[in-house]
Symmetry: C2
Subunit: 334 residues, 2 copies
């Protein structure tokens, strides 16, 4: 049985979607028990809407909520009775294997490190969102809060990302690229130039060299290693261009009678195409390298992303990802 | 009369499109003379296709070509008779006011600094591509080859970018943002945290604070200041997502008879929409802060982008951009 704590109070669609996602996950045929963390009355109100196996869902009352704008360190320290702090403590105490939240990224990243703690030898826990490409999906690691990384961090990101991609997302011998501004080995900033030979000589990964941002949406690499600032820029630009183009497309189809008619004709196919670009289809971003699993979903996650994220926690545990991370990282240090 | 040197040998569409762009530019009603730089026989062959005012086009023979893959520093040093070196020398010698090329970015960036030289006081010449947004266009500065910038560089980029945006592209009192991973002042990497207060206290610019990559396509800032590595990632991700989505869209419309019919109905409107996302519509990227103007167009530039870029050189000269840059940069140093 895999025990997953779910933040009922976090994200744009709380509490409706997290609860719905939890109910969906326990009905998926996996051995999952969900701990719904949040205001008890709110959770009970939502649960009343569904039929579900009662012993698969537990309620953990948490009276406080950490808002997105709050300074993370302060919020984690002060709001001991928040859903994020309580959820992370369930992982720390070994009651749960994982914590899934659509709430404040900053608080989840800080809390993950402070409360759950890092695996011995892991210098920095990277946040590794998955995003859609022409070939399926890729992992962008790190997009977290730890900017200004060192080269040794990037090597650890590559190892952890490879393990996650292979054993949780099912891509065999994943291709690892380093985010760069050109494909020649001498290209890059100081960090990339230092990390490149380390990655090239790293026996545990399938390193394919530099990847330009332009190639990422094409799926040239399964795991794209980068420092968090650049990773965040890449990820958010991806989302920004996508939503701007989809917006412009919608406008286009509502221009006239003819374009509206065109929309009716192309709608089913178009919906399938646009779905491919919807990052919320693929589960949340794991914060890797912690003594337990912490997953940050999109702020606007629906029950589908929450439920996918919960189910991925099962694979994470079954595949003993943290044992594998521990082994590979501590081999590196020898 | 503004004299513009045009690289006939550079880019995917050389020599056809550069020559066509030049012919188009001199017919635009502006006082332009173009120096076509490249293999004389090739240029003459292309020019034979057109009717044009003979005294508005000069041919400068250059027998060598710098290829995209060549190491830039070596190429500039060795290939003295290349179109890029000869074109840049025309600017250095005062024969031409500007040089426009679709050729090797690296060689243009290195050559611009080494041959044309920087304006006194300019620490680094940034490359500032223009790209389309929901509001029109924005300038991303720096996307050049000079990675690992210092905070003082970013302040100069902001000043030069503002001047270009206002006086060449016609945006009054342009909003300047710094590319960041959050909008709060305490967010960012070391560089951004150091540059932020300097930009905030800079009287010559209209600083609006941090801009997340997600906001860039919406046009939240007219000038987005960044270090070149992050800028390059943002720009190339923009282009990558755009082309991937357009590709997927094309597939969608060719799926069945109905979707093909839909395409016929929506085609004129859709073309207009997609054109908005085509960066080649808006002219090339200036390399600012040099004693002369050097413009890098997209590698796949057509005559339209070349011609727009040539015409922008007129505005650049008429508006005395380099005099303005000189004044603002050297005020900063006092």
């Amino acid at each position: 049985m895999v025990n997953v704590a779910v933040d009922v109070m976090g994200g744009d669609n709380a509490p409706v979607e997290p609860v719905k996602g939890a109910v969906k996950a326990i009905a998926s045929g996996n051995d999952i028990r969900v701990y719904l963390v949040g205001r008890k009355d709110v959770i009970e109100g939502e649960l009343n809407k569904y039929q579900y196996e009662k012993d698969r869902i537990k309620i953990v009352d948490a009276t406080e909520v950490i808002e997105t704008g709050e300074p993370p360190v302060m919020a984690i320290r002060k709001k001991k009775d928040s859903s994020i702090v309580k959820g992370l403590n369930l992982v720390k105490d070994g009651v749960c294997d994982a914590f899934v939240s659509a709430g404040s990224s900053g608080a989840i990243l800080v809390g993950g490190q402070v409360i759950v703690g890092r695996i011995k030898g892991v210098e920095r826990p990277p946040l590794a969102p998955v995003f859609p490409t022409d070939n399926g999906i890729s992992l962008l690691i790190d997009c977290g809060a730890n900017v200004d990384a060192r080269a040794s961090h990037l090597v650890q990101f590559a190892k952890m990302g490879s393990i996650y991609m292979e054993h949780v997302l099912g891509v065999r011998n994943p291709k690892v690229g380093i985010l760069n501004i050109g494909t020649e080995e001498e290209k890059g900033n100081m960090l990339v130039k230092e990390a490149y030979p380390l990655l090239k000589n790293c026996p545990d990964i399938n390193f394919i060299g530099s990847v330009e941002a332009r190639e990422i949406p094409k799926g040239s690499a399964d795991v794209v290693v980068c420092e968090a600032f650049a990773g965040n820029v890449a990820l958010k630009m991806y989302e920004g261009v996508g939503s701007t183009m989809i917006g412009a497309l919608k406008e286009t189809f509502t221009t006239s009678f003819l374009t509206k008619l065109a929309y009716l004709l192309v709608k089913p196919t178009l919906k399938k195409t646009l779905k491919r670009f919807d990052a919320t289809e693929y589960g949340g971003a794991p914060l890797l390298g912690l003594k337990g699993l912490v997953v940050k979903t999109h702020g606007n996650a629906t029950h589908k992303e929450i439920s996918t994220s919960i189910i991925q926690c099962v694979t994470f545990k079954e595949q003993e990802i943290n044992k594998k991370i521990n082994e590979t990282i501590n081999m590196l240090d020898n």
